[in-house]
Amino acid sequence: MEILIAFVIGAMTASGVFLTLRGRTFPVVLGLTLLAYAVNVFLFAMGRLTVGLPAVIDPTQGGYADPLPQALVLTAIVIAFGMTAFLIVLALKARSEMGNDHVDGLHLSEDEASLKDTLPPKSRKATRKARQAHKQEARP
């Protein structure tokens, strides 16, 4: 049983990490959600895996599942939802401001131009230049 759970956690972690490293916002959000799942299950498993025990006080029962990790994970699930929601809206905002969904918020005039993941060096340099010029303007 423990081996199975450990393997599932590992699979979720690996997929989550891989997606987190992608260059587009949507897969990154999915990746973070997967990572949150992995962390939640991991935390829950720290209270050990108990089958068929109540978490509710019942005099007729002999043992209990550990309630503390459950309480912690319960709030963690809700918070993870809040985080996911905020992130995806941030991604929408970035798309509406920048016109593309690249995680680095590259300023491109046309969305189509971003279809190539590895940008030609020229355009990347141009973005950096534009960014620096923007910074210098902001300085008094």
Partner: protein, 937 residues
Amino acid sequence: MNLLAFNLPLVVLLPFFGAALAAWASRFNRLGAAYASGLITLLALALLMPSAPLPFHDQTLIQSWSWVPDLGLYFAFRLDGLSLLFALLILIIGLLIIIYARYYLSQKDCMGRFFAYLLMFMGSMLGIVLSENVIQLVIFWELTSITSFLLISYWQHRKEARQGARMALAITGAGGLALLGGVILLGEMVGSYQLTHILAAGDLIRAHDWYLPALVLILLGVFTKSAQFPFHFWLPHAMAAPTPVSAYLHSATMVKAGIFLLARFFPALSGTFEWTLLVGGAGLITLLIGAYTALFKHDLKGLLAYSTISHLGLITLLFGFGTPLAAVAAIFHIINHATFKASLFMVAGIVDHETGTRDMRRLGGLIHYMPHTATLAMVAAAAMAGVPLLNGFLSKEMLFDQAVIASSYSHWALLLPVLVTIAGLLSVAYSVRFIKDTFLGQPKSELLHTPHEPPRFMKIPVDILVVVCLAVGVLPALTVSPILETAVAATLQTDVPDFSLAIWHGFNAPLMMSIAALIGGVALFLKRDALFRFYQLHEHIDAKSYFQSSLNALLKLAKGVTESFDKGSLQHASAWVIGTSLLAGIIGFWHYSGPLIGDTPVQSVDTLTVIVGLLGALAAITTAIWHRKRLVSLIVLGAVGLVIAIGFVKFSAPDLALTQLSVEVVTIVLLLLALYFLPQASPKEINRLRLWRDGLLAAASGIGATLLTLSVLTRDFDSISAYFLENSVSGGGGTNVVNVILVDFRGFDTLGEIVVLALAGLGIYSLLQGMTLPAPKNDLHGRLWNPDKHPLILQTLTRLLLPLMLMVAVFVFLRGHNLPGGGFIAGLIASVALIVQYLANGIDWTRHRLQVDMHWVIGLGLLIAIATGLVMMALGYPFLTSAFRHIHWPVVGDFELASAIAFDLGVFLVVVGSTVLSLVQLGRLSHSSHAESTWKS
């Protein structure tokens, strides 16, 4: 009501409140800020007065409250002679400065900001001198660094003001850090951070191994603050501040804070060879460098700045001697310097104000235009030069006396009387220059307009200070003697040595030195041309340029290091973070010598569980593999969430299963809504190297997580949950331990979490406000969307289901304390019920029927949750303690009513509010985008 029980903290905190008051008052009347500040200062003085007599009766007033006692931190205040002297200087000179500044500032300057900063600075200074706890002292010390930064940079549009302020902050801030280190060493040596204990433990401290490090660290703080060599260079650059600020910071306050600390720790640290060498040495060098440089400055304030450095060096030198009589002289000179230097700065400000320049090469003959001011300046400058019948003379005599006494200790010390006489000679020379070049001689014609006397109230502060100089100089025994004696008693913490404050001590060595300095000084001034030529040879050597270049080099290094990691790419940064944590994990495993897998036997597993588990793992991996087809990937992600929910059921966690299930629904709906506005597919990645790198990182993370989980799960463990299981029914009144933990044992955590959730909801709302995105007309494969937006069957069914779902939510909510359920789960179920209505019937239809503003729901939820906790506090229990009682309801039967249910209601409302708010706002985005696109077509 006994005022003596709590007046000191009031004196310290009053100026901080006054700062807000002054800033507020200036909105109505430009001068309101000045009057408010004056009033606050008078009030602080009045509050201090009742306890002022105590130090004169050898009593130390201590007012102390526990703050963080485990760290030795107390909110503690102390009033003895030394604190009283400094507090009076700060408040009285502060009051004079406020009067002066009211006339000094021009129409363009913002009065409220100026006086708010000034009052905050005053409060911080008072905090330093009135602190009993040394950590608290350091806190106020840092506050003076920050507030003086604000004051020096008051004219933010001037480059030199910003630079000067930054330099002052960098140097005094760094010194503050050193001081904190020194004070902590001191506290650990003594075992207490209260001054009373530290001052009584001088012998223990001096014999301790840590004495030298503590001394060096504390002196670093002192020297940076009091502009002692080699940290003296920030002070002249701080002259870019408005003149009232310079007058305040460099006469009675800021730079005197370091000197105050020398006096404060005198009984604990002085009397060793190291003390004499470090303190005396720095003092002597500063005394000479300051006096020498002051002579050549053409700027009035520049001259005064270097003169201040020199006089601070003089005081430090006196403390360095380490004898009780030298301490008397030092404290006496603190008073004298504060009075004559404050008045001289004010004079410089008046000259600047009336003529438009402070350059002595362009000034001259001002006595013809402003005889009153010129007279004041002459008296104050004479006091600075040490002319008899003025206060500066008396303390300078005492310095000469001490130097003569010290010269008998060693051969090298024979130089001392000579060196201090040279310093005296230089100070006479620059004082003469200050008067001669500004007020005497022929008026220069190049001034912008004819100068005249300043407004009467601008002179009154100077009048008062100059009268004090004279009174102390002529009648020392009648004026300054009592307060000086009390201050010395508090500094030494022993009996005061015999000293006589007389003008005439007979023809002795100090008098000869004074005469030599006076005559030599005037002669040097008359023959100064050669010296000026010599100075020009090395004028370019300025510590500022070294400071700037080393600062620039440091910043460049920091920037280089940062840029080598952060290339402005999130992928790059994430890879670094993940790689580093992997490395840390690997190192951790590597250094662990025991077996990786523990010896607790694993539980047996049935086939169904294996299948479901593997399905979950497969779904997770598929999500990653198919990530370019976003919709598919999202659907598979939903499957992972469902498997987890099933897992929670299997492993006896019904609450978690319910939560996971409802969150899963909401999350997927949300992501679907968002995906509508994002590209439906990710572009193909060309960079294979990056794919390999990411794959490797991912695989390693997965293996690491698996091994970590396995190694933990195969070992025995001790849970702290026994406490919760035992006390859940008796203490929390509920049998669902998970819920009792959430709303009672760890209620404060839950409160924090619903606050986060509320913030996320509101943040999403405001992010989406006014945003429009182009809505795609067809899906990935070019198919048009279904024109039937709200299918009839779905509409009818959901409308029928709504009451049922809401009832389930209420049911789950009510039983939550005793059976699986509770506010979080009920909130999510209710949210799903509402969201389904929006989805099936459209936003307009639902909004028309559900006229509830979700902002209010969130706010109400938070209010209820906090109020539940506060009610318990009002009843005398800790925050969020729960009370419960069993009551009998007709029909329903026995029912338990716990106050925790009110808290849970707050949780419920926040969850419903945030979830519905964010989803509906997102839905509205699609609504408006669609409306726009149809309108366009």
